[in-house]
């Protein structure tokens, strides 16, 4: 049986060439792409998240780990799509809200969600409530995740929730929010379903919202 532990380790330490090499080796040895993803890569990113939470890792370590995971995913993705072997945990439509152009926090959350096995559709920056509603209407959207950096752009989050209600979509999607000025209190106040304090917690919240927290 092929040992996927070194692959997990390569992700944890952010060694992209090694992660790529070991992924290819695993495939050559007959390990299925789904198994490599579920038992090699995702546990690696979960450990990275844990270390981030424990302040052993900081953003640079998170970024190089994600880069290693992506190096492996580049090989696996076409095979996973063709095989239908693994379904994503859910689809998260993410964006920085209207009026806000900053995207570092949003990108970190996207990265960690992907690393945990979610499909992420990134709408980018300065996303209007209408665009979020359109994305929810198109389907294949379990969670809408919104980010804001400024107190002045926070109200766009409520406007988006109101727009979802008006479009009759509020009970079809979960809404989670985050960003520098956001608090749990604010999330409760505007009727968001969840609030993530950082990129790692956002993964946990997303899983909770879909009833798959582990």
């Amino acid at each position: 049986m092929f040992d996927l532990t070194p692959l997990t380790e390569a992700v944890i330490v952010g060694n992209a060439p090694k992660a790529k090499e070991l992924t290819q080796k695993a495939l050559d040895a007959g390990v299925s792409p789904g198994t490599i993803l579920q038992e090699g890569l995702i546990p690696g990113m979960a450990e990275v998240g844990r270390r981030f939470e424990e302040r052993e890792y900081y953003v640079p370590e998170l970024l190089i780990a994600a880069r290693a995971m992506h190096a492996a995913l580049d090989i696996l993705r076409p095979l996973l799509t063709a095989s239908d072997e693994v379904q994503p945990l859910g689809t998260v439509v993410i964006g920085t809200v209207r009026g806000d152009l900053h995207d570092i926090g949003k990108n970190l959350v996207s990265m960690m969600l992907e690393g945990a096995g979610f499909e992420v559709r990134d709408l980018g920056i300065d996303v209007s409530p209408e665009k979020f509603v359109d994305a929810a209407r198109e389907g294949n959207c379990d969670i809408i995740a919104m980010s804001a950096l400024l107190t002045t752009t926070m109200p766009s989050m409520k406007l988006t929730i109101d727009a979802l209600k008006e479009a009759g979509l509020r009970d079809k999607v979960k809404v989670m929010i985050g960003g520098a000025p956001i608090t749990q209190e604010y999330a409760d106040q505007i009727g968001a379903d969840g609030y993530g304090e950082d990129a790692n917690q956002a993964v946990w919240v997303a899983k909770q919202l879909l009833g798959i927290a582990r």
């Binding site: 952010g14 900081y58 953003v59 640079p60 009026g99 995207d103 950096l149």
Partner: protein, 381 residues
């Protein structure tokens, strides 16, 4: 006491008649909104506002320790709502066309390779004569009998490189090519030390200021371990030089949660933290409790309390009273005042702050403004 004596005594924890009356500033669109709420239209930028609200005077010498020359800011293209620009640091960024506040969306950075670094280094030449104004000697004479604190900006080790490289790129470069980061930070340190020599010899400066902005609300952008390896020894070289010339108040401008870095900054000779974003995770009371009087503090008034209303403002100032009494602390709003603070709440905040800390109220603002306008009209006539 004059402004200089008061500022130095406050920062050194000595007795004062009252603390200095200082504020950080305002976003551009705060002025636009406040004009509709009663602020005179002539008050349209931070320097005019400082005079309008009669804050204590504090200045820095016009010495450029950074890019020289800076890039020429220009618009590359625009659509209905956004403008793509190249800024003064050579960064391509998307900004709002209507001037509303936001951190820009960065598109392209001028420093991606070692070749780029060679090119950029030409703008980091300590011998560039443009680093000092042509009337420097005249200014030095004017500063001899000044009554206000005068300091020097001493640059940035991480913040500049992050701006030039982009956050993601510099973050991974710490792992991929640490020698290059060392090389760049060393060059910047040498540049700063060499550039400030003339100012340190010519003027008895009162403070020095770094800028970094290297923290999120959950902590620093790089680990304390990296900070210690790459930055502490270099800060130390700069702060040792400053102290040799009697400059013992050295502050760093860093938004976000700086708690994990404070100990290292103190070790590196940076003893004052600014602006202490409370909602961003940096609470002045907690820092004082943890680091004692070794840490000096500027800022720390939670801006969201000014949004909330008068009761919240009173509570916030009351919260900070023991800290002000403790010394080594000048309270002010913990970043630029955002446009969702009403003008009325801001005036109320200034009143409560001045009452609480014995800061004399300036003349009625309207009267003062009318007098200034009359004076200007007479001068023009």
């Amino acid at each position: 006491m004059n402004d200089r004596e008061r500022w130095l005594a406050t920062m050194h924890g000595e007795p004062v008649d009252h603390i200095p009356d200082e504020e950080f500033g305002y976003w551009d669109d705060t002025f636009t909104i406040w004009h509709k709420q009663g602020l005179p239209r002539e008050v349209k930028d931070n320097s005019i506002a400082d005079r309008f609200f009669c804050f204590s005077r504090r200045e820095v010498v016009p010495v450029n320790v950074g890019l020289s020359p800076r890039f020429r800011r220009r618009v590359l293209k625009e659509d209905e709502r956004h403008r793509l620009i190249i800024d003064e640091e050579g960064v391509e960024a998307v900004i709002h066309k209507d001037g509303s506040s936001s951190i820009p969306h960065f598109v392209r950075f001028p420093l991606q390779t070692r070749e780029d670094w060679k090119r950029l280094k030409r703008r980091l030449d300590p011998d560039d004569p443009r680093r000092y104004p042509v009337d420097w000697e005249w200014r030095v004479r004017q500063w001899k009998d000044r009554t206000y604190p005068l300091g020097i900006f001493v640059g940035s080790l991480f913040g500049w490189l992050r701006n030039w490289m982009g956050f993601e790129h510099i973050a991974v470069t710490f792992h991929d090519d640490p020698d290059w980061i060392h090389e760049m930070m060393e060059h910047i340190t040498d540049l700063i030390i060499k550039t400030i020599q003339r100012a340190l010899q010519d003027v008895q400066l009162d403070f020095a200021a770094f800028w970094e902005d290297m923290a999120f609300r959950n902590g620093p952008m790089i680990s304390p371990k990296m900070f210690r390896e790459f930055m502490v020894p270099r800060y130390k070289r700069i702060t040792d030089e400053l102290r040799r010339h009697g400059v013992d108040i050295v502050y760093v401008d860093c938004d976000g949660n700086i708690t994990e870095l404070v100990e290292l900054w103190l070790e590196a000779g940076v003893n004052t933290m600014f602006p202490l974003e409370v909602r961003g995770g940096s609470d002045p009371a907690l820092l004082r409790k943890r680091f004692g009087k070794a840490v000096k503090l500027l800022g720390g008034v939670d801006k969201t309390k000014l949004i909330e209303g008068k009761e919240a403002i009173r509570r916030e100032i009351a919260r900070l009273e023991p800290l002000v009494a403790d010394g080594g602390y000048i309270p002010h709003v913990d970043h630029r005042v955002p446009p969702d603070v009403t003008y009325e709440n801001y005036l109320y905040y200034l009143k409560v702050k001045r009452d609480a800390f014995g800061i004399p109220h300036p003349k009625c603002w309207e009267e003062q403004w009318a007098a200034a306008q009359q004076h200007l009209a007479r001068a023009v006539a």
